[in-house]
Amino acid sequence: MSQNLNSAVNEFNQEMKPVSLWADAWKRLRRNKMALVSLWIVGFYALVAIAAPLIPLHDYRTQTLSHTNLRPSFKPAGQIALEAVEAQAILLQERVDAGVESLKPNLERTLREVESLKAALDTDPASKNVYIFGTDYLGRDMLAKTIYGARISMMVGLIGTFTAVLVGVIIGAISGYIGGWLDNLLMRFVDIMYGLPYMLIVIILMALFRKEGQSSIVILFVGIALVSWLTIARVVRGQIISLKNSEFVEAARSMGAGTGRIIFRHLLPNALGIIIIFTSLSLPSFIMSESFLSFLGLGVSAPLSSWGSLVSEGANTMELYPWQLLAPAIEMTIFLFCMNFLGDGLRDALDPQSKNRT
């Protein structure tokens, strides 16, 4: 492992003035257009999510059963509903004419509905509602649902990422740097956490903390945090092991730097790229694992929903009502896209080795 010391990267000058590391990074980030646009969009998402109760939305809980499964439109709901029901009546008429007697009551009911919708056009204030993202199976506003869903999902993503980075990076770094029996112990602990049947742990958590008249959102976060850090710990450990015998670490050590300083000042900044990439890659899986946990009964309770649950519900009806999938899916994908580009930008901006190049 003999390498030319002259080509060692200059980490030392950045150690001297850590404040300028962030200032520098910010300067570089601002020059990255993709990252900057992403930052704005993520900021917008966060703002909307936080301020959701202040935005003049339809209540995400209000059911309008005459307005179920309406397509997205800027036109008033009464008109869209009337068009949909009239089309349905024609379809039913065709089937009945083709000899499907069993649909007759259905047809009669639909024709009655056409009449009542026509009558309600001017009288019922609800028919003036506009649903730009359409409505769901109980006639609730998809826009409001996805915005309230964003709150939950972004929160879940935040918590997953936070624990993944905090616990995963620290455990991985300590394990990799100190090595020996401690490494073996910590990594076997990670193996054990992987091996235990996670589904049952979640079910037990849920049963233990169920309370009458309360929902279980805090346990949901615990459930996500429990496993979010495992893979990143292993990845960070691998990186640290590969870096710890580099010259710059030897140099720092010979200058008398302590373990903590070496890990946090020298090793982690060099592993930052992988940490950021891995975290932004894991974000979608945290958000989707929330919908799996709600399947097990751990999560937000209906009628509140999350991106994950909206997407999985929407996937079931995508052939008939594609907007019920597209509205939350596009909203979520844009967010994840931005988070990834932001991650890339951050990585580039914080890259200690690119510092003297830009």
């Binding site: 000899g99 849920m206 009964g297 309770s301 079931n316």
Partner: protein
């Protein structure tokens, strides 16, 4: 060019049909093919191909029609039934079917060591069966005797008119002692399986499929039209529906409820009333539901018709009663939808306009359909009673555990009858019954049900109606929502012998290609 392609495609299609006659998307992996151990319809669907009991379900009415038994006689007091077994009835290995095989099979189901979950079907009606099953009586006291090779005598606990119909159920099928002794629990594997049914087990690939082929030894083999049947274990109903639409599946058991708006317009969508009820259980021993007026207020606050017309749309029948109507039996309803009355009941209970009503959680097991209903109910209670409830879904097994421990206030519940009789529904609410999760208890109700065991005909039905009247009209022990429906995808213009029926059993021996 186009023409030759068409010919090739046509040939391929012919070849494809030749491989299997009927392909069924059966909905899940069968838990067991042992008639004594089956508990789910996935298994029993296949079981009906492999085995036949004394009777077989009529594909149109779900009543029993003679199968292994060619006839039966009932003693004047109705407590002893004697079956005559067909002379030409053979097991699939060629052994003649004897009355002793039934005795063996039934005793095996009852044997505590078999631990059969459906043993209760036998213990309910057959004399001495309950004692043998719980270890307190000997096998020799069970009221089933082979008088000779072809005569089976069954002694019942009372004059159960529905008993012959019950024997079409898989719990009453005979068992091949020699095969079970030889192979142990592996006797249900291909190659080992010996059955009395119209088909024999050819292949069983777990989580993939079960393939059965026509049984040449079957007594009525000349009337069995299909060469083979393949039961796919796929549990994803959306995928199954796509397979059905692509023609890769001929019969989809159950439907994709999310696509009901498309499905209900199809003429191959089969829907019929099912012998079972969806209801909301309340804990009768806990406040506020220990108050009959609260229960009545909830029942009156929920518009079931709109729920079915606008949300479920799957042929369910809204109901205020528990037992579906049948010959001689008029269901006795509880309170129907009436928002004004609902408010009054709630005020009478001490919560005018919902004021002071304690926080309440409605619990349902995770399922899209249950969720829609829960959300609808939440809104109805809010609008009609001014009560805010919280919804909570739970994973199935934890849900059952919570419900069995009566650790709830308000939960989703459902019950499917095992045979066409009010008893299979009403027995649920006897004090101390294992399935009485809501802890309803009324000695008068218990007495009426008990008296009905010894009665026959109209007198019996009258007693059962009286019981339901106490249960719902007087006490409103729970809130019925609708009677289930059977929903299947199968083109009956193409497949004959398949009919919608109340129990949803479709013995494959009757199915043929038109």
């Amino acid at each position: 060019m186009k023409k030759s392609l068409f010919v090739v495609l046509a040939l391929l299609a012919v070849f494809a049909v030749g491989a299997q006659d009927l392909i069924i998307a059966n909905g899940a992996e069968p838990a067991s093919l042992d008639p004594a151990l089956m508990t789910d319809t996935t298994s029993s669907n296949i079981g009906f191909a492999l085995n036949e009991g004394l009777m077989v379900y009529d594909p149109q009415t779900s009543k029993g029609i003679p199968a292994m038994a060619e006839s039966y006689t009932t003693s004047p007091d109705g407590t002893v039934v004697t079956f005559k077994i067909r002379k030409n009835a053979l097991w699939s290995d060629g052994t003649p079917v004897k009355a002793q095989d039934f005795v063996y099979g039934w005793l095996r189901t009852l044997n505590p060591e078999t631990a059969s979950e459906y043993a209760y079907m036998l213990t309910m009606v057959i004399k001495g069966a309950a004692a043998y099953n719980d270890g307190s009586g000997p096998a020799s006291d069970v009221g089933v005797k082979a008088l000779d090779d072809k005569t089976l005598e069954v002694s019942l606990v009372g004059p159960a008119a529905y008993f012959p119909d019950m024997t079409a159920h898989h719990a009453f099928e005979p068992a091949p002692k020699w095969a079970i002794d030889k192979h142990g629990s592996n006797w249900t594997k291909p190659g080992n399986y010996v059955g009395t049914g119209a088909y024999i087990l050819k292949e069983w690939k777990p989580q993939d499929y079960v393939l059965v082929e026509r049984n040449p030894k079957y007594w009525d083999a000349k009337n069995v039209k299909l060469k083979s049947i393949k039961y796919l274990a796929s549990d994803n109903s959306t995928t199954n529906y796509k397979m059905y639409k692509a023609g890769a599946v001929d019969w989809q058991v159950g439907i994709t409820v999310d696509l009901i708006d498309e499905i209900m317009l199809r003429k191959d969508y089969q829907v019929s009333a099912r012998f079972g009820t969806y209801y909301l259980s309340v804990n009768n021993t806990r406040a506020p539901f220990d108050n009959v007026n609260v229960r009545k207020a909830f029942a009156a606050a929920i518009d079931k018709t709109t729920l079915i017309d606008k949300v479920l749309k799957g042929g369910q029948i809204p109901t205020d009663a528990f037992t579906p109507a049948m010959v001689g039996y008029t269901p006795q309803p509880g309170v129907g939808y009436d928002p004004a009355a609902a408010k009054k009941y709630l005020a009478d209970a001490g919560y005018p306009d919902g004021k002071g009503f304690p926080p309440l959680t409605y619990i349902y097991n995770t399922n899209e359909g249950h969720k829609k209903i829960a959300e609808y109910i939440q809104q109805q209670l809010k609008v009609n009673l001014g009560i805010d409830i919280i919804l909570q879904n739970m994973e199935w097994n934890a849900f059952l555990d919570m419900r069995a421990k009566h650790d709830f206030f308000f939960v989703r519940h459902g019950w499917i009858g095992d045979y066409l009789d009010p008893n299979t529904m009403l027995d649920l609410f006897i004090t101390g019954s294992g399935n009485n999760d809501g802890l309803y208890s009324n000695p008068k109700f218990d007495a009426a049900i008990r008296a009905a065991v010894l009665a026959t005909g109209d007198a019996r039905m009258k007693l059962l109606m009286e019981a339901e009247n106490l249960l719902l009209t007087q006490d409103q022990a729970f809130i019925p929502i609708y009677h289930y429906s059977n929903q299947d995808m199968i083109d009956t213009d193409k497949w004959g012998g398949w009919f919608p029926n109340p129990l949803g059993y479709h013995p494959p021996k009757f199915i043929y290609k038109k």
